[in-house]
Amino acid sequence: MQIAHRATGKNPLARFFFWRRLPRWSRRVAPIVSSLFILPSSFVLTSCGHREPPANITICNANEPESLDPHIVTGVSEMRITKALFDGLTRLEPRNAAPVPAIAERWDISPDGRTYTFHLRPNAVWSTGEPITSADVVWSWFRALNPATAGDYAGQLFYIKGAEDWYNGKIKEPSQVGIRALDDRTVQVELNSPLAFFLELCSFPTLAVVPRQVIEKHGDRWLHAKPLPTSGAFTLGAWRVNDKVRLLRNPRYWDAANTASEIIDVLPTGSPNTALNLYETGVADIVWDKDLVPSELMDVLGKRPDFHSFTYLGTYFYRFNVTKPPFNDARVRRAFALATDKNRIISKLTKGAERPATHFVPEGVANYSAATAPGFDPDAARRLLAEAGFPGGKGFPRVNYTFFGAAGGGAKLHGKVGIELQQMWRDVLGIAVELRQIERKVFYSSQSKLDYDVSMSSWIGDYNDANTFLDLFTSTSGNNRTGWKSDRYDALIKEANLQTDLQKRAEIFRLAETILIADEAPVVPVYFYAGFNYYNDAKIKGIWQNILDEHPMQYIYKKGRGVKGN
């Protein structure tokens, strides 16, 4: 009692006495141990004290962006952010993702379809106030084409005359590249051949206009420059790794009057369950990555009105390694294809709005008419396999189906699809296929080195045109990864891309695709991806579904919290 009285007494010395009564060892240890907690706790109190204004819209975007440099980014989730920061000559409108004027207010196209003359908007300025000139555009494109920039997508500019040779150092004179500033406000671009999707390409991040003034000064860390001049509808308010990217409305943007929200927070969410929790508790307004939908809950979520699904520009498929037996025989490959019940994979595994893929290019792609390949046909499959010398699967060598595994997210599906395919091939063809699960980086490396027999694959198109799918399997493409080469196929793709009549072009593509999926079958399409966004229609406006999953952030606002008071 006495001790307690002293300890709580008013005399400041009382505490000291209490201290003295503790065992001596603890008096020596206590300062060390307690400093371990007091330091961090005081840090909590001070660091959490600063308050940011709340965002108008909070979006769960997949994973921490690898980069926000539009010339370097490769992922869809990064591109969504870079497009808000840096405009191209064109941009995509939010409803159908068609290209519309951005930094260029209009353009003229030469009759042969090879020369584009862009007239820049006189009121296009950087967020820091300087005008955006044709010199900025030319400098940006040459930067994207500079090997030192080391952008994976530099190839998007190789459609321009001389660009590839410039990149490879075969041309030293910039004037031999078809990018020219005619005056301060006019840029002329000369292409190798007419290109049906060039205006759309001009909105692609690799062709975005970036600020020379800070890049030359800060190098790879230019995005940390303050202030950071941007050419798009937003400026970069904050970029904290794995915490958030905060976008602030750029008041100097030429179309700033139509930017609907003042502050948008983009959260790098890695786990679908966390995304759903954030959404359900009202922290996040929009979740818009297909990997952020917990597949276990698809049955329930798919039926909700705030769950929006749409056809997406992507195909899930598998590849054969055609460089060695047994898959060097097209009959074997076709037999495997015919034994694949695509509907079963959708109804049993993906359970969403995916569609069975009867061809390789997804439905709804521009400038395209679909080829057809025979569907699930067990009898025909067995006949073909017997013709190839393996009746009932007898004598068939041991082959593997290679895929990469992951504990969570969309990649969980790959193993399940593998098991399903394994079962189909066993039941229909009598063939035992071994499942080979490897790590993601090892997977892509083995796929490139053709170290597999059958390989899980997927492809998301870069732009809305059949070419982004069909040129994969030309013999020179680094993404072919099957060892399959066809002169006729190469010739058809080349011919199609020289054709200016879009209908004739689509017809040539159809012939090429028929070789790809029906005659030779180095790849077998399984299903077309469905995209998913979830947000409450009644509250969130300015967002639409389209095949490119393109949702320019400048149009999105929350009802009652938009800039224009709507």
């Binding site: 065992p23 060892w25 020596r28 240890v29 060390i32 371990l36 907690f37 961090p40 706790s41 840090f43 909590v44 959490c48 962006p65 690898e66 980069s67 926000l68 370097i72 490769t74 090997p147 080391a150 952008g151 994976d152 997508y153 530099a154 190839g155 998007q156 190789f158 590839e164 990149y167 490879n168 790879d220 860390r221 940390h224 904290r240 790794v241 794995n242 959260l267 790098p268 890695g270 786990s271 369950n273 966390t274 929790n277 954030l278 359900e280 508790t281 922290v283 790590e439 993601r440 980086k441 090892v442 997977f443 892509y444 490396s445 083995s446 490139s448 997927s458 492809w459 680094g478 993404n479």
Partner: protein, 304 residues
Amino acid sequence: MYFLRRLLSLIPLLLVISFLAFVLVRLAPGGPFDRERKPASPEIERQLQAKYRLDQPIWKQYIAYLGDLARGDFGPSLKYRNHTVTDIIAQALPVSLLLGAMAFGFALGVGIPVGYYTAVKRGRWEDYAGSLFSILMVCIPGFVIAPLLVMGFAIHWRLLPVALWASPWHAILPVAALGLFFSGRIARLMREGMLNTMQAEFVTAARAKGLSEHTLLLKHAFRLAVLPVVSYSGPLLADLLTGSFVIETIFQIPGIGIFIVNGSLNRDYTMVVGLVILYATLLVVLNLLVDFLYTLLDPRVKYE
């Protein structure tokens, strides 16, 4: 003097560790630029390799790396190309340090009293209840506890935020989820230590001399019984301070744990080596601190 020598021995140790990490991560199959899509020209890939010196022999890369390291530069991240590894450590490590220190405090704060109490009440119902608690905590992994806590406190009762790292409230669930597991382990260590000490001769002697039970246990027995917990605390704290992949992912906390796991999955060579060096340093320094605490707690321990 002894501790200074130990601290100096850290330098050759780190050299060996960093060299091993540097070589091993490069020997792993697959590389940082193996991706779903190949660049349009092999030249682009070659440029990427050249930009990050990956086209040079390993020993040359390592020497260049040591040169950068001497200037305190961990190099650019190969995955997060606008950040250097130093940038990322500077942003993410404080968050993990904070979370880890709080979880450590939680684990000790719960574990030591539970362990002490269960030992004192050995064989009574308090012992069984406390031991059940510690066994459960040791057996249930964080990826089960965390969603259960979220489900209860954040979604069902709406008392605490589900995720993110924005206010002290946001820290409660992750600290509990991370700390509970270790509190179970500490309680078990503490109980063992206490039981062993209580059978020691000096305790019997003290009791025979008529020392009050309270003084005896708290002042004399506890001091030795806590030693196993102290030696476990070094590696535990190093573990906690460098973040937890699971907890950081579930609560979307911008800590360093995510980078340790993803860095190796992404073959982000510079990131992996940088974080290995960081972790090794922490581990050595904290073990040193543990040894120092030993000299204070146990009069028999002396270092020359």
